[in-house]
Each structure stands twice: as structure tokens, then as C-alpha cells.
């Protein structure tokens, strides 16, 4: 299901036009982004949690050249599914 299909499906469920749905989706994503930028943990019940995690710096070796690199720390967005979602997909 790509972005277009997702918009159509969501529009059908909410009885909204595709254009309005697209705008609402963008707004929602923007809101989430803002929270992520503030390192907020976004918990969606029955679905999962979005969390920004900090990966520490590390030393990496290029296997072909043998050179060593210092990889800087970085922030990544991680998603952890909730148990309800897990059970939903593993019910059968």
C-alpha cells in the first residue's frame, strides 16, 4: 500500500475528500515531526510507540581498506509495536 492507496483508503474510512485527507495527513505528520524533534515519546494506544533514540558514537573499520572511522553520534526514530498490535497479527 503506497501513499496514494493509503490516502484513498483513509478518505474512504473518514468520508472525506482525498484532498482534505492529504492535507490532514500532512498536518498529522508535521505534528509528529515536531514532537520527534523535541525528543518526545509518542504513544499510540493499540498500535505502538515512536521514540527518538540516541545512538552513541562508534569506531568503524572499512573492511576493504582497513581504515578506521569514527562514526559520530546520531538520533534515530524508532518504532516499537504494542503487544495488542503484535497479537493482532499473530492471532492465527
Amino acid at each position: 500500500m503506497n501513499n496514494k492507496e493509503f490516502i484513498n483508503e483513509l478518505a474512504k474510512q473518514t468520508n472525506l475528500t482525498a484532498g482534505v485527507t492529504t492535507k490532514l495527513i500532512n498536518d498529522t505528520v508535521k505534528i509528529l515531526e515536531e514532537h520527534f524533534q523535541q525528543n518526545d515519546v509518542v504513544n499510540i494506544p493499540s498500535f505502538g510507540t515512536f521514540e527518538v533514540k540516541k545512538k552513541m558514537e562508534r569506531i568503524s573499520v572499512n573492511p576493504t581498506t582497513g581504515k578506521r572511522y569514527l562514526i559520530p553520534p546520531k538520533l534515530v526514530l524508532a518504532f516499537k509495536q504494542s503487544n495488542m498490535l503484535k497479537d493482532k497479527f499473530n492471532a492465527e
Partner: protein
């Protein structure tokens, strides 16, 4: 940094889009449900600006129950994963965006460098091996170069047996001091001061007691020899190839004894004063070396000599016999020198040496006795006399561990033994067994026409050649 629930997002959505709250709440719930639905249908949902949700299969895996320690299997299941969109990723990572991977130069060698070092060491090993092989090649060359002059000289030997035979017995003896001296000289440098006279007397006395005419050669021979002997001691440590060096030294020594003395006489006379001092110094060193060795190995040597006299077979029949007989002379000379005059010593020592060497027992005795009785014809007496006088002085230096090998070139004369190679045997071992010196293996190779002497087969028959000293011109 707080925890945001779905209701917070709904509130913000209401504020942002101006929708009614229930519509916004409915929309957000529909948003989540649509993702779940899409996952269930296609296992993948892409939302622009947000990322990709995927439903992935996780296979069974074994684990251990933490509490009971039992082995359990965690059943495979499906799990929702989320990969943020690149735009989202950059947005999240903005605080650390200015960091970039930097190459480290912290002094630790990388694996490649370590490999390179290993390769280098390997190369050096190869180089050393190649040098070894070249050395052996050099040895072979000298060896192969030898025979032709040797044949010419053997003819001479037949004519002048008394003269030649003695050098045969002497040469190994003369050569060994070359090996000994560098070791023994310096540490014992002080001892000889007290004991010089003992060693000096035989040489000094003899000429005086004998004919004044004969003195010069006697005096000069050591001069000729010992400078030649000394040089190698200086060179050897620097050059690392003792085998090659020593062979060179031998050649220089051998000719001087029997032949060159006569020719050298005039030259030596001129620089007699210098020569005398040099001789004295060298004698001191020689005496030191001898005394050191003599005292250390006195007992062993005696037993060795006794064994030889009793006719016990030595490992190397030819060469060591001669050597052994040479040693037999030593004690006699030592004891007699102080008491008797030179002539008697000469007479005494010579026949012993000659009779010991298997060939031509009668001739040399006759020749020498005639020489002695005459004692007038200088050219004939000189080489003889010189060689004889040298023998005691040099013999005294040579002690037990005389190996026939290292310093001489040898002539192959027939087969000593045919040896069948057993498992684990090497040519070096054979050389050590039959000649007492591991360095003589090239002669075995040469005698057997071995092409690949690094790989010999078990059960291969190897002819062990008889080696005789190769007299040089």
C-alpha cells in the same frame, strides 16, 4: 521530552486544521486503523514524509528460560517495523547533523598494515634463505674448481712425498687455530704473559740449536702463516661467511709452508725487525689460545689420543687418523722439547707422523733422515724443516675438537660406504656421521650426482665418498 498520547495529537490537529474535535479524533483513529489494514493486506504501508511500516516475519529461534535454564523455542511471529522517511530521518537527526565520519589516525596499525609487516618478514626470510643457497653454491663452485689443480699436485706429491705428506697432516691442524683463535685469544689475553715462555721455547730454541742457515725459514714461516692466520680472525666476524673465508685462508697458508718459504726468504729478511715483533705478538696469542684449549680439554684429549693409539676406529678413517697421529706427536714434543735438542725432536716426531699415514712408510723416513743427515742443501731442508718446526708449535694449539672439515677443500677418492637413507635422515646428518662435520654434505651431493638434493627419497642409496685433503699449489 515528555510522553505524548494520542489525545495530545488530536488536540494539536484540531488547533492546526481547524476541524471539529470529534472529526479530528475520528481521523487520527482512522489513520492508525488504515495503517493496520494496509499492513494486513499488503504487509507494507508507505506514508509520505513519515516513513514505511512493514510487517516482517520472524522465524523460530532457540533460547533459554532465564529462570529454569531450560531450552525453549520462541515461536516465529510477525512484527511491525518502521523505517523513517529520509526527510524524517534528517529532521530527527538535525542536532547531530554537523557531525561527519572522520578517519582515525590513532597510531594503531590497521589490519592491512599488519599484513604488510608479515609479508615483509616473509620476504626477509626468503632473502636469508637465498643467501644460504648462494653460499652453498659458492662452496660447490670452489669444490668443483678444486680437482684439476689437485691432480697436478698429486703428481708432485708422489715425487716429493716427505714434503707433501707432512702438510697433509698439518693442514687441518694449522687451520683449526683459525677457528679457535677468535674465541680464545681475547678472553685469555692475560694468561699467556706468564706462560709464554713455555710455548715460545720450542720455536725459539729449535732454530738456535740447529743450523743458523735454517733459522731464517723457521722464523719466517710463522710470520708468513700467522699474519695470514690473523687476518681471518678480523675478517670473519665481519663477513659472516666463515666457510668461504677459511678456505681462502687455507690456500694462503698451505702454499706458504712447503713451497713459498724459500721464495719469501729475501723479502722477509728485509723487514726482519718488524717481522720479529709481529712474530712475538702472534706467538703470544697463539700460546694463549693453545694454553686455554689445552688446559680445558687436557683430560679429554688424552683419552682421545689413547683411543686412537689403541687402533680404535674413528668415524672418519682417513682424515682423523692422520689428525690423531698428529696429536700423538704433541705430548712427545712437549715433553721432549725442553730436554732434547731440536734434531732429535724432528727425527722423533717425523717418523711417527709418517708411519701413521698409511702410504709410503719407508720413503719419507728415508728421505727425512737423509735430509737431516745432510742438513746442507737448504732448499730441500727448509720446507721439511719448517713444516716440522711448525708442527709442534701449531699442534700445541690444536686440541680435541678437530674436525677435518670446514677449512679445507677435499678431493674425493673412492667410496667409503654406501648408505641407504632411512626415514628422517638428511644429507647433513650423513655428513655429520661420516665426516664429523655437517658442512661437508655438498661432497656427498657431488659424488652422487644428486640433482635435487633438497628432496631425497627414503631407501635411496647414497655413496659416501672418501675425502682427502686437497693440497694446493
Amino acid at each position: 521530552m515528555g510522553k505524548i498520547s494520542l489525545s495530545n495529537i488530536v488536540d494539536e490537529l484540531v488547533a492546526k486544521s481547524g476541524l471539529a474535535r470529534d472529526v479530528a479524533d475520528n481521523f487520527i483513529h482512522a489513520f492508525v486503523e488504515t495503517i493496520e489494514k494496509g499492513l494486513q493486506e499488503d504487509n507494507i504501508v508507505k506514508i509520505k514524509g513519515m516513513g514505511t511500516f512493514k510487517l516482517q516475519e520472524v522465524s523460530d529461534r532457540g533460547s533459554v528460560d532465564v529462570n529454569t535454564g531450560e531450552r525453549i523455542t520462541i515461536r516465529g511471529h510477525r512484527k511491525v517495523t518502521f523505517t523513517p522517511d529520509s526527510a524524517m530521518k534528517e529532521l530527527v537527526n538535525r542536532p547531530f547533523a554537523h557531525f561527519e565520519p572522520t578517519e582515525l589516525n590513532d597510531g594503531y596499525p590497521t589490519e592491512n598494515e599488519l599484513d604488510a609487516v608479515g609479508a615483509q618478514t616473509d620476504e626477509t626470510d626468503e632473502v636469508s634463505e637465498s643467501t644460504e643457497t648462494t653460499e652453498s653454491v659458492v662452496g660447490n663452485e670452489t669444490e668443483t674448481a678444486g680437482p684439476s689443480p689437485a691432480i697436478v699436485e698429486e703428481v708432485k706429491l708422489i715425487v716429493e712425498e716427505p714434503i707433501v705428506e707432512e702438510p697433509v697432516a698439518e693442514e687441518p691442524i694449522v687451520e683449526e687455530p683459525i677457528v679457535e683463535e677468535p674465541v680464545a685469544e681475547e678472553p685469555v689475553a692475560e694468561e699467556p704473559v706468564a706462560e709464554e715462555p713455555v710455548a715460545e721455547e720450542p720455536v725459539a730454541e729449535e732454530p738456535v740449536a740447529e743450523e743458523p742457515v735454517a733459522e731464517e725459514p723457521v722464523v719466517e714461516e710463522p710470520a708468513v702463516e700467522e699474519p695470514a692466520v690473523e687476518e681471518p680472525t678480523v675478517e670473519e666476524p665481519a663477513v659472516e661467511e666463515p666457510v668461504v673465508e677459511e678456505s681462502v685462508v687455507e690456500e694462503s697458508i698451505e702454499p706458504t709452508e712447503p713451497v713459498l718459504n724459500i721464495a719469501d726468504q729475501p723479502k722477509q729478511k728485509k723487514s726482519k725487525g718488524c717481522v720479529w715483533t709481529i712474530i712475538l705478538i702472534l706467538l703470544l696469542m697463539v700460546a694463549a689460545a693453545f694454553l686455554c684449549y689445552f688446559y680445558f680439554s687436557d683430560s679429554e684429549e688424552r683419552s682421545f689420543n689413547n683411543a686412537d693409539e689403541n687402533g680404535e676406529m674413528m668415524v672418519n678413517p682417513n682424515l682423523e687418523e692422520e689428525l690423531g697421529m698428529g696429536w700423538d706427536d704433541e705430548p712427545e714434543v712437549d715433553t721432549q722439547l725442553p730436554v732434547e735438542k731440536k734434531d732429535s725432536v724432528v727425527l722423533h716426531s717425523e717418523p711417527v707422523g709418517v708411519s701413521s699415514s698409511d702410504a709410503g712408510v719407508a720413503e719419507p723416513v728415508v728421505a727425512k733422515s737423509s735430509n737431516h743427515s745432510a742438513a746442507t742443501a737448504q732448499p730441500s731442508t727448509n720446507p721439511l724443516f719448517c713444516s716440522v718446526t711448525i708442527t709442534p708449535s701449531l699442534e700445541t694449539k690444536t686440541i680435541k675438537d678437530i674436525t677435518p672439515a670446514d677449512t679445507t677443500d677435499y678431493v674425493i677418492e673412492g667410496t667409503l660406504v654406501t648408505h641407504q637413507l632411512k626415514s628422517g635422515e638428511t644429507l647433513i646428518q650423513l655428513s655429520t656421521k661420516y665426516y664429523g662435520d655437517k658442512r661437508l654434505w655438498p661432497y656427498i651431493v657431488k659424488y652422487n650426482w644428486m640433482k635435487d638434493y633438497n628432496h631425497v627419497a627414503i631407501g635411496q642409496m647414497v655413496n659416501i665418498p672418501i675425502l682427502k685433503d686437497k693440497p694446493t699449489e
